[in-house]
Amino acid sequence: MELTPDTIVLFEVGPVALNATIVFTWVVMLLLVLAACLVRRGITSDVEISPGQNLLEIIVDGMRGQIRELAQDTPDQYLTFVGTLFLFIALSNIMTIVPGFQAPTASPSTTLALALCVFASVPIYGISRRGLRGYLLQYVRPTPLMLPFHIIGEISRTIALAIRLFGNIMAGALIVAVLLKIVPIFLPTVMQALGLLTGLVQAYIFAVLAMVYIASATRASEATRQSETEASEAES
């Protein structure tokens, strides 16, 4: 019983062994890009739009609305990163229904890579919105004694992000595999359906948490900048 698709080697291209994780990651990437390109070909701003365009508009609009509420800011600057996270994780979790497909998110390597992307994006967005000094000042607010707690908190929430996604998806696949040995027909199907639900919920939670972390790095700087301008105006 394999705990992760990392150990299953599918192809060997010369010296490189491609395991199931990387192959199915490429499959998900290919599907996302193909779907987007196919819809983009027939894109119109008429009243009559194709079903694919309708679906994508609903998804993108929904994501923009959620990001706008979380960030209290224009959503488009965050939409590319957070939206991609959500779409990749959601599609790879939903496609577990396809026989033979192993979700790449069931591998700790994939989830850790995604969590590291979020970890890197927080200072990138924070510094681009606020500048290096403004972003670093957050770490010593409200007092410089909080500096180690902020750092440890950032590291632990990144690891928690990775383990949460990995644990949920791997557990779903493992339960179905174990139940196949015990109660062959009905129960594994029910657990597979539950796995779809938890996969979508985990994709949403991953994206929402990424947005919350980014917003806390950019918004707190807004609040301090506002209070600083108010304080300087009160002095003058």
């Binding site: 019983m1 509420e69 949460r164 990995f166 644990g167 557990a171 929402v208 948490l209 919350v212």
Partner: protein, 92 residues
């Protein structure tokens, strides 16, 4: 009891205990969280979007501890380095 048997017995017992105790706390906490969220939605139905979203984020955080325990149990039962060491020794 020889080393290999001791490792097997302790691994099985600890595997069961870990997931047993590790799921009680989060279950209680999530129950309280959902109860409070339902109360809040009943008091302010207009804000149900924000409340639901915050509820899901909070539930994910609470669930994390249960998942840590689950991952430890899986490691102890299926990818146990001590058991693997003894199996290797026995194989020689």
């Amino acid at each position: 009891m020889a080393g290999i048997e001791l490792v097997a017995v302790v691994s099985i017992i600890i595997g069961g205990l870990t997931i047993m105790i590790g799921s009680i706390g989060p279950a209680f906490a999530e129950g309280r969280a959902v109860a409070q969220a339902l109360e809040a939605i009943a008091q302010q139905p207009d804000e149900s979007g924000t409340i639901t979203r915050t509820l899901f984020v909070g539930l994910a955080m609470i669930e994390s501890t249960a998942i840590y325990c689950f991952v430890v149990t899986l490691i102890v039962l299926f990818a146990n380095p001590f058991w693997n060491y003894f199996v290797e020794q026995a194989g020689r």
